[in-house]
Subunit: 272 residues, 2 copies
């Protein structure tokens, strides 16, 4: 390889074009506990779709179902344009390794974002500036090291345990790449899975945990993001329920200027 | 046909088993503006999965991407078990008509819900009892007639127009089948798409509108729902942003006793 992308994230989510089958490779830099960080996997899938010659428009929605662990190494992305209309596209992506069962199943919608009436009903979650908050110092896994987390609310405390009843699952934090990188839809996709498990916050301890299904909606197109020209987002995540081994999470990613860039929701497994 | 299901909803979401290809048919009772009510389509897909001989566990997540209009009449459901683990299953469903392009693309996760630590962080949205609220009287389309909507907050007002700035997109309402029917995962799936377009509320007027992608998470299994034994839910829906022809919606479906049964999110097209 003669040229290396400038940023680790771009290296981690690199894809090689094929016909319907594209290729990617897990990254040691974005490794989690038992496999690649799901956000990097989701961003890799999104990158392949964006780079696809048939793609038109901006990503609107991406759902990623994590079906089985991904092993270290190469993977194939079987990409299919399921339906194209005048102004939108529906895609389906299957990630496999060595011809085995599907490990990740994703669907995506792309759309031409036409001008319309515009109204942001949600309120910008106020927070102290990024520079006034200390970075989160603990780096549990390699992928955590790639981000600069600065908690304004819901500072992680995973060592005290659930002694006096459940703690709040709400977190508000700045997220940027540790090595600053301009926010694009790929980083938004990855950051939408970069919250720590809500159950870790609620129980104040770590436990077996894994995202099962993740859906992210993009509320800014490439033009909107170019106009923002930012390297970090203000992120909010919360949960509503923990029940029979599964819990939910909903989140928002905001530009520092107060624009809602993406919303995300996921359902995750936990053992407690 | 010698026996007819007792309830219109069960008739509307009926499926005929096949090998991988199942069959359904649109229902005049659940017709919307330019096609079948999306909630009925989603519930039909879920019914086919639940009835599938290889299915095990309870539905955990269903994402439905509405790719193209569905015409009145028969449709085929191409159902594929993408991956099965010890305690979860990942499915993919494609809805087509007459061998044409995919009109609806869905992915689903089923899981064995094992006992665990349980905690409902979200607060039950208080509302006056169902009996104390008048039913919503306007029936814009056939599908609306199949539900009994009783608004506790965000009463629809689609005739006054957006004169003094955007109105709130928040609604809180009781939803039951017009002919009472016990709440199961099928009705939860359908009801999760039974909110009026948030943009109708925000702009106080009707306009071209269509759900593009819908995701619902189930927080109660069959045993939990049997224990509730209810015929209506308290539902809350809101939106965060309307921008460049697309808007979001998030919602919750609660049992009258205060249990969170399902959460849902969607992204929709609008023309304004």
């Amino acid at each position: 390889m003669l040229t290396k992308p400038a940023h680790l994230f771009d290296d981690a989510t690199r894809v090689t074009a094929g016909d319907s089958c594209w290729r990617g490779r897990t990254s040691a830099d974005y490794w989690a506990f038992v496999g690649p960080f799901g956000g990097a996997t989701a961003a890799t899938i999104l990158r392949a779709l964006i780079d696809h010659p048939q793609r038109s428009g901006d990503p609107l929605a991406l759902t990623v179902n994590f079906c089985a662990p991904i092993a270290e190494g190469d993977f194939d992305l079987d990409i299919r344009l399921v339906k194209a209309n005048r102004s939108s596209q529906h895609w389906c992506v299957e990630l496999t390794q060595g011809g085995a069962d599907v490990a990740t199943l994703a669907t995506a919608v792309f759309a031409e974002r036409r001008p319309s009436w515009s109204h942001q009903q949600a309120e910008f979650p106020q927070a102290p500036p990024f520079e006034q908050i200390l970075p989160y110092p603990k780096v549990a896994g390699p992928w955590v090291r790639q981000y600069d987390f600065r908690f304004a609310d819901g500072d992680p405390d995973f060592d005290s345990g659930i002694k006096q009843g459940p703690a709040s699952a709400l977190s508000k934090l700045w997220i940027g790449d540790r090595v600053p990188r301009k926010i694009d839809v790929l980083s938004l996709m990855s950051m939408s899975d970069a919250f720590f498990g809500r159950v870790f916050h609620a129980r104040r301890e770590l436990m077996p945990f894994g995202t099962v299904s993740l859906t992210t909606y993009f509320h800014a197109d490439a033009e909107d993001l170019a106009a923002e020209d930012i390297t970090r987002v203000l992120a909010v995540a919360d949960a509503k329920i923990f029940h029979k081994s599964y819990c939910d999470q909903s989140g928002e990613l905001w530009s520092p200027s107060g624009r809602l860039l993406a919303t995300t929701t996921q359902i995750a497994y936990f053992k407690a």
